[in-house]
């Protein structure tokens, strides 16, 4: 399977175990890679998410696609810069990516071109701070600024 993938995809391909393949590509070939993988029987999008690498000032997009026939999971990764993060939608390839993309917009502030809902609140209505899953968002600071501490007296007999 790895040989077949190497024929169609340009990028760093690593066979981590017989059932895990890690594919690192450039961000402009992300959707074409997924398209090619779908043709190679990777028909199910299992998860589409992002990781905030704050030291490198980059987001890593991670799409997990699975092949029912070959029982292999491919982890497709790409890095995008953190300033004005934008990606193109993959809903034309995997329809269930729609809400994952909305989540990327809401939780990381990544704009998804082609997804009309991507910057609308999905889980958190009226959120005005930094997108909460970014590493530079400090949830403890946010909580102390927005909520009063409860004075609870604890008595031990």
């Amino acid at each position: 399977m790895v040989e077949e993938i190497k024929k169609v995809i340009k990028g760093e391909i690593l066979e981590k175990s017989p059932q895990r393949i890690i594919i690192k590509v450039k961000n402009d070939s992300f959707s074409s890679t997924l398209n090619a993988l779908k043709g190679l029987s990777f028909k199910r999008l299992t998860l589409f998410t992002a990781v905030d690498f704050v030291k490198d000032n980059q987001f890593e997009l991670v799409a997990l696609v699975y092949s029912n026939e070959n029982k292999i999971l491919a982890i497709v990764k790409t890095r995008i810069p953190k300033e004005n993060p934008e990606i193109e939608t993959i809903t034309n390839i995997y329809p269930n990516a729609f809400k994952y993309e909305v989540e990327l917009g809401e939780m990381f502030g990544i704009k998804v071109i082609g997804n009309p809902d991507s910057m609308k609140p999905f889980l958190l209505e009226g959120w005005e701070d930094l997108p909460p899953l970014r590493k530079d968002f400090d949830s403890i600071k946010y909580a102390t600024e927005h909520y009063e501490a409860r004075n609870v007296e604890v008595k031990y007999d």
Binding site: K43, T46, V51, D52, V62, I75, L123, L124
Partner: protein, 366 residues
Amino acid sequence: MIKEYELNIGPNHPGIHGNFSVHLKLEGDTIVEAKGNSGYLHRAFEKLMEQRTYLQNLALIPRICVPEPDINEAVYSMAIEELMGVEIPERAKFIRTIVLEAARVNALLFHFGGTAAMLGNYTVNYWAVADRDLMLDIFLKLSGARVYHMYIWPGGVRRDTYPGFEDDVLGFVKYMKDRLIEYDNLFFKNPMFMHRAKGLAKITKETALQMGVTGPNLKATGVKVDVRKDEPYAAYPYLDFDIPVLDDGDAWAREIQRRLELELSLNLIEQAVKKMPKGDVWKKMPNPFKWVIPEGEAYARVESSRGEYGFYFVSDGTDKPYRVSVRGVSMPHMYPLAEELLVGQKLSDAPFILETLDICPPEIDR
């Protein structure tokens, strides 16, 4: 002329375990549009996990999925073991299998109770909750807790089984096998259930595959996909079993599929108890309060009662996870599957259809 109007079901939704609402547009009592509205249950698990040490997280993660908490502990431990390169003892593998299958039985019983209640058959609901309690008693003796066990942990399980555990579990299996006949007569063979469920909200194989559907919802359309067989974990390689599948893909098939899986789980528990070897239950690791996990990433997955459940796990070599992304099974089942399935159905069937998809809102609001 019939006017279109809007109706909100929820957030205390009758057909879902948790707070979740569905916005419906109706013409008469026919649904013309359905939109899910999540967020009522959001507790920011993924963010919280980044701020807690590996041991502290063990107390947090079972809360992600309430009806079946043990799968969270299992995927969390499996991801850490993969990163550390740890192989767990044989006995621990069997104990994990028993716990995971028992949790599946519990979740399915809970599910049947809900489904039957959606059709007005409340007896099944009371029976199922009472039967589930018998297993909770065993969990209490095994782990010290009824619902959130925190029993599976990195390196194996937290402690060995108590004396008499095997007999208790086998007793429960025998009781449930007898009880299944009564469930069949009251619910699964009930003409009321058959008439309501046959042909209702049918999913085709193609739609299911395209939308990322897994678990019983997919198996009920005739696709044999199950993590227990495809990528065996715990003690599944040592057990002898076959995955049941059905072809119809309608509400009836989804329920019968789950009923067959319940029977399979009982058989698996029986096999695992009988084959369980003696020995250690935990691969000794250095001080759990100071666990540091090597840098890297892993994706661990298990077959939950609803489908493929997994954690995408990134570690930066410190004492806290760098990022954990939860692969909630219900995400594709609600968006877009349920939204499309509800269109054209009657309002009175909506809670029942949502229930047959077994949507667990905490997996969406994670």
